[in-house]
Amino acid sequence: MEYFLNEQQQTLRSLARKIAEQRILPVRAELDEKEEFPWELIREMASSDLLRIFIPEEYEGLGGGCLDLCLVMEELSRVCGGVAISYGANALGALPLINYGSEEQKRKYLPDIASGKRLAAFAVTEATAGSDAANIRTTAVRANRHYVLNGTKQFITNGGEAEIYSVVVMTDPARGSRGASALIVEKGTPGFSFGKKEKKMGIRASSTRELVFHDCRVPAENLIGREGQGFIIAIRTLDRSRPGVGAQAVGIAQGALEASVEYARQRIQFGHPISAIQAVQHMLADMATQVEAARALVYAAARTIDAGAKSFSEEAAMAKVFATDTAMRVTTDAVQILGGAGYMRDYPVEKMMRDAKITQIYEGTNQVVRNTIALELLKRKAMRE
């Protein structure tokens, strides 16, 4: 399918593919096995400017948009969803700063994120709060020129590895979701520590940890936007990042599709490659069609955002739900096509299936994300009446 990418986007895509094939592919199984954070790969991506693309040009970035980020996510995920999300979570952590940060905050943090000197992460989820942001228990109490943070964030991607955290906390618990605020907390701030590294089903190259705040004093100027804006910042940030998760899913599915086609052509049964069997052909055809449809939807959502649309919750949500459900189906079918081999860790598709699962869960479970779509749909109908 022709997506009419501009010259820089085409170059970006082939560069990301090169990095994925030359640098990630040889180590992906080992990173998965050892659950190792891919620092070396992150540095390589940084020196190739991949960490610059989503940062505005004024802050030493390349001023790319959501589609640029999606192209990189897709190409990295085609080889390893775990490395890709380490890259993607950094962008997610930078988004609140890019869109809601003050001039000083942007100047302080964005150039370091652009160069890869420091990684970023985004923290909303807690034991009692995830999709239910109103139930956030981590508090930030204003004390003169500081906020004092207490509480624990859970399942934070890039936790421990990143140095710049955009954290959503309660500054006024009485106001529920309207009492939430977003704060920048730097690694190394006294009272800020990390829980153990989580052991995950998939995306095991990525690092997931708890963030623990115990009387952690953060300068008041680290507030992103205004007090009480935390919930809206979180929601809008996810609206912008969901096509990226969709792109991750498209990449994983694409990788699984390619592995399936390759295997089907090689695997001989009854004297013929199994690709000659129509049942297998139809599976491959369905997989390919679904992947392409998901890609088209993800790119369209990303372009809607890049075109400056005012509201894009629904588009972003659709892209996320459709692409991630597709990834789960396609990777499951890939394991099926590879049969016994597919179930073995010597082949990459079982990892792809494990990696795909998380895309239906994080940045809003697909059930919650469907709520968003339904809400928009019904709201529009109600407004017309």
Binding site: R23, S47, S48
Partner: protein
């Protein structure tokens, strides 16, 4: 430290078609890329520049499509790129190729070092480096696996040897060829790639280089290609049969017969 890197554009995939009548190669490959060893040469040149200053010039002899490979060299950080291109050069053997390159390098001005890849993956001769050194009147060290230090007027390095490695010192200016263990070539940056699209590649033809076309190309080169053919596969192959145990025993019998055991 001014370094010239010799690059060749080679096929990334070999797709061979031979005309059985004439024994000539109709098609050799697709997906052009920079010869992998030359990427190591370029990387080493970049590292020398980063450490000691100076500039890196990439030079290639080839058809005009080879401009794309030179553009890639610029994306990776080469300061200038020169293509030696003339229909009269087609089919040059290693002597003629080295001759043309030597004239190109002289025209660029005497560098401190010329770095080549150990060999190309298509021609596979590894002869251009040493022939070039002779023509430029410079010393040469092949198969360099590590540059240890560059000091006033000389370079200390390790080269591959049958018994392991040799530590050698070479006076500068000089020519070296490098093996892949010397470094891991960097990947280009997006900014480098975008800038390289606008970069200008200098092209010099036979006249501009002062090449006597009677001495180069498929007609003038000392070495001529007579024919190409497909390698003959062994006709003695035998897949052993039976249980693995019996196959192992059969094999041992065969090796005894051949007096290898």
């Amino acid at each position: 430290m001014n370094v010239v890197v010799c690059l060749k554009q080679v096929p990334g995939k070999f797709k061979i078609e031979i005309d059985p009548q004439t024994g000539t190669l109709v098609k050799g490959g697709t997906d052009n890329m920079i010869n992998p060893f030359d990427m190591n040469a370029l990387e080493e040149a970049m590292r020398l520049k980063e450490k000691h200053g100076g500039k890196v010039s990439a030079i290639s002899m080839g058809p005009s499509e080879a401009k794309e490979s030179l553009r890639e060299a610029i994306a990776l950080g080469a300061d200038e790129a020169v293509l030696l291109c003339d229909p009269a050069f087609d089919g040059s053997d290693t002597w003629a190729t080295s001759h043309i390159l030597s004239l190109g390098i002289r025209k660029l001005g005497q560098p401190d070092m010329v770095i080549c890849g150990r060999q190309t993956i298509d021609g596979e001769t590894g002869q251009v480096g040493p022939e070039l050194a002779e023509m430029l009147g410079l010393p040469f060290v092949s198969c360099v696996s590590r540059i240890e230090e560059v000091a006033e007027g000389h370079v200390k390095m390790q080269r591959m040897a049958e018994e392991g490695h040799h530590v050698v010192e070479m006076q500068l200016p000089g020519v070296i060829s490098v093996v892949k263990e010397i470094n891991v070539p960097r990947l280009p940056s997006l900014r480098g790639l975008m800038q390289s699209k606008k970069a200008s590649i200098t092209v010099w033809n036979a006249r501009e280089l002062g090449v006597d076309v009677a001495m180069v190309g498929s007609k003038g080169s000392p070495g001529r290609l007579v024919k190409v053919s497909r390698p003959q596969r062994s006709t003695r192959q035998e897949l052993l049969q039976g249980s693995l145990e019996s196959q192992v025993e059969q094999l041992i019998g065969k090796l005894r017969e051949a007096k290898i055991l």
